[in-house]
Amino acid sequence: MNAREHILQAIKAGRPGAVALPGLEQDLAIHYDDVLAKFKTTLEAIGGQWLEISGEEEVSTFAEQESGAGKFVINAAGDNENSLSEMTARQLAGVDMAIVRGKLGVAENAAIWLTEEQMKNRLLPYICQQLVLVLREDEIISNMHQAYQQTRINERGFGAFIAGPSKTADIEQSLVIGAHGPISLKVLIIKENKIA
C-alpha cells in the first residue's frame, strides 16, 4: 500500500462522526456606512498611503510624473505592457515603481485583491521598491466575506490580497516598513464623480 492509500485509510478509520458545515450568515459581519473613509484610515494604520484622482486616465499622468525623476517605473495598469510576463527576475529587480490595477478593496483591513491578469508578471508587485495600486471608489467593500463572494479565487493561476507595504517586526518587535517586498504602498483611488 502506498503512502496515499495508507494515509487516507487511517483518516477514514479515525475520523469522528459526521459534523454539519455551518452556514455563514454574512449579515452578521461588520458593514461600514462610509467604506471609503474606513478603507483610508485602515490603510494609513497599516503603513500605506492614498491619493485621490479623478479618472482612469490620470494614472498615466501619475506614471509620467514619477518617471520624470529618473526612476524605472512600470505602469502595468497601462495597455501596452504585454512584454512584462517575459521579464526575468533579475530585470524586475531594477524596478523602482510598479503601478498595478487592483480589482477589489476591503475596508476592514485595507487589503486589495488582484490577480495575475492585473499583475502581468507575478513577481512584479513583490519585487518592485514601491508599489502603487489603483482602485475605483465603487470597488471598495466592507469585509472579507463580501470579497470572497465577489471574486473567484481560481479565476487565474495566481491572485493575492495585498494590504500595505511589506513589513517585519522580527528584530525586538520594532516595526520596520520594507522587509522583502515593496518599502511603500500607495493606493490611487479614482473618484469618478469628483468635482474638479
Binding site: 502506498n2 454539519a20 455551518p22 485602515t42 472579507m144 487565474r156 493575492a160 517585519t168 518587535q173 522583502h180
Partner: protein
C-alpha cells in the same frame, strides 16, 4: 533530553531578558484583544471557524481527495508522505531531478517538524530561510523559539552581533531599520539565484485545489515567483472545504497572531506560472493517529496563530526553547506527546491549566483540558517523573486518611512556626523560587467546628 523545568530555569537566569520576553508577548496579546474588539462578530467568527474545522475533520479523507484532484487538474504535482523522512526524501528527489543547488524557504513549521534543513544539509544542499526572524536564528544555528516570531528570544544587540559576523554590518549598530535593510539586500540576491522555493501552506481549498500562504515580509512570494520550481509543504489538517471559508479564517488569523487586521500578503496559488513547476507535498506524520484520539483530535484544528503562546504565563516566562520542539507553547504541549509520548511527557505539565490559551484560540481548541487529559495518559503509562510520582503517592496516602491528615497538618504548621529551617532549604523545590507562607493559626476544620457551635 532536558525537561521543560530545567530548560526554563536556564532561560530565567537572565532576569531582565525574561521580563522583556514576558512583557513583549503580553503586549502582543493586548494587541490581539484590541483587534478582536473592533469586530462585534468576533465570537461568531470563532464559532464558525471551529465548526468548519470540526466538519472538515469529519470528512478529511474526502476533502483531501477532492483537493488532490483539483490541484492535479490545475497542473500541480501532488505527493503524499506518511512521515517526516518520506517528506524530506520527496523534496530531495525533486531537487536532484532538477540539479538544483540553491534553495530558499519561507516559514513552514511542518518542515521544522520534519527537520528538513538538517536532512538537506547532510545531503550537501544549503537551504536559506528567508523570513527575517528565521534567517537570524539560522545564522545562529538555533531553532525558532516562537512559530510566528522566530527570534523573539533575542535582543537587537544579539541580532547586530550575528549580522556583523555573517553579513559584515557595522559592529555595534543595532538599529532595526539598518539591520533589516542589510538582510533585505542579502536575501534579494538569494531569491534571484534560487533554483527552488519551498513554502508552507496556511490553507488548502478542496473545491479549487489551490492553497493560500500568508506573510508580512513578502518572502514566500519573492521565492515562489522567482524560482523555476516551487514546493509547498502541508499537513493533512490544512484543508478547508470552500473558498468562502477563507473569509472566516483570514479575518481571524492575523488578528489573533499579531493584532493586524490581515497579513500584508495573502497569496492564492492555483497554477504554476508559465514554465514553472509546482509541487504540493501532503504530510501525515502522526496527524491521522491524533485524529483517531477522540480526546485530542481537535488539536488538529490549529491554524498556527500562536495566540496561545502570547497569552500563556508559562511560555512568556520560560521561552520557546524550554519546550525543546518545533511547535512550542500550549498547542505544542498537546501536539507533541502524540508524536513521541516519552520525549515530550514533560510538556503537558508546563502549564498552570489557567485556561487562557483556550479563551484566545480562534478555532476554539480546548487546549487546557487536553493538557490535563495528556497528564492522565502520561501517568497511566508510567511516564511521570519519579519525584513527582512519589510526592503524589504520598499525598494520596495522607489525603485518604482523615485522622492522619489532621495530625500531618498540625505537625506541618508547628514545624513552619518553630523549625522553619526544616522547610526553608534548597532541597525543597517549592522553596527555590518562593518564600514559604506564614503558618495558619489553626486548620479550617478547627475554625469550622468552633464557628458552627457559635
Amino acid at each position: 533530553m532536558k525537561a521543560h523545568a530545567i530548560l526554563a530555569k536556564e532561560f530565567i537566569a537572565d532576569e531582565a531578558r525574561t521580563d522583556w520576553h514576558d512583557e513583549t508577548l503580553w503586549f502582543i496579546r493586548q494587541k490581539r484583544d484590541k483587534a478582536a474588539h473592533t469586530l462585534p462578530e468576533w465570537e461568531q467568527l470563532r464559532q464558525w471557524a471551529s465548526e468548519i474545522k470540526n466538519h472538515t475533520l469529519s470528512k478529511l479523507d474526502e476533502y483531501l481527495v477532492e483537493f488532490e484532484n483539483n490541484a492535479r487538474q490545475n497542473g500541480v504535482m501532488v505527493h503524499w508522505a506518511s512521515n517526516g523522512d518520506m517528506h524530506n526524501q520527496i523534496v530531495y528527489d525533486i531537487i536532484r531531478q532538477h540539479n538544483i543547488t540553491r534553495v530558499v524557504k519561507s516559514k513552514s513549521m511542518l518542515t521544522e517538524e520534519c527537520h528538513l534543513n538538517h536532512f538537506l544539509a547532510t545531503m550537501g544542499i544549503e537551504v536559506v530561510d528567508t523570513d527575517l526572524g528565521e534567517r537570524i536564528v539560522q545564522f545562529r544555528k538555533e531553532p525558532p523559539s516562537h512559530i510566528v516570531l522566530p527570534a523573539i528570544h533575542l535582543t537587537k544587540q544579539d541580532v547586530s552581533d550575528t549580522f556583523h559576523q555573517h553579513l559584515h554590518t557595522e559592529k555595534g549598530n543595532a538599529d532595526p531599520l539598518y539591520l533589516t535593510r542589510a538582510a533585505r539586500e542579502h536575501l534579494r540576491e538569494k531569491f534571484l539565484e534560487a533554483g527552488l522555493a519551498i513554502t508552507g501552506v496556511n490553507f488548502a481549498i478542496a473545491e479549487t485545489g489551490g492553497f493560500v500562504v500568508c506573510t508580512n515580509e513578502g518572502n514566500a512570494d519573492m521565492g515562489a515567483h522567482a524560482a523555476p520550481v516551487h514546493i509547498a509543504c502541508m499537513g493533512i489538517e490544512k484543508i478547508i472545504p470552500k473558498a468562502e471559508h477563507l473569509g472566516v479564517f483570514l479575518r481571524l488569523l492575523a488578528r489573533s497572531a499579531t493584532g493586524q487586521p490581515i497579513t500584508t500578503y495573502s497569496s492564492h496559488f492555483h497554477k504554476p506560472r508559465e514554465g514553472q513547476q509546482m509541487h504540493i507535498i501532503i504530510v501525515d506524520n502522526g496527524r491521522s493517529r491524533q485524529l483517531a484520539r477522540a480526546d485530542f483530535r481537535n488539536s488538529l484544528k490549529c491554524i498556527r496563530c500562536a495566540a496561545c503562546f502570547n497569552t500563556c504565563p508559562v511560555y512568556r516566562r520560560s521561552g520557546g526553547f524550554s519546550y525543546h520542539t518545533a511547535v512550542a507553547g500550549p498547542i505544542g504541549s498537546i501536539l507533541n506527546p502524540n508524536l513521541d509520548l516519552k520525549s515530550y511527557s514533560d510538556l503537558p505539565f508546563a502549564s498552570t491549566l489557567c485556561g487562557s490559551c483556550s479563551n484566545v484560540c480562534p478555532v476554539k481548541i480546548d487546549i487546557h483540558e487536553q493538557l490535563w487529559k495528556w497528564r492522565q495518559v502520561i501517568a497511566s503509562e508510567g511516564q511521570v517523573a519519579p519525584a513527582k510520582k512519589l510526592m503524589v503517592k504520598g499525598m494520596a496516602f495522607i489525603l485518604a486518611r482523615p485522622a492522619l491528615y489532621r495530625v500531618a497538618g498540625r505537625v506541618g504548621r508547628w514545624c513552619m512556626r518553630y523549625l522553619p529551617f526544616l522547610l526553608n532549604h534548597k532541597l525543597n523545590p517549592w522553596y527555590r523560587q518562593r518564600e514559604m507562607p506564614g503558618p495558619a493559626g489553626r486548620s479550617f476544620r478547627d475554625w469550622y467546628i468552633k464557628n458552627k457551635k457559635q
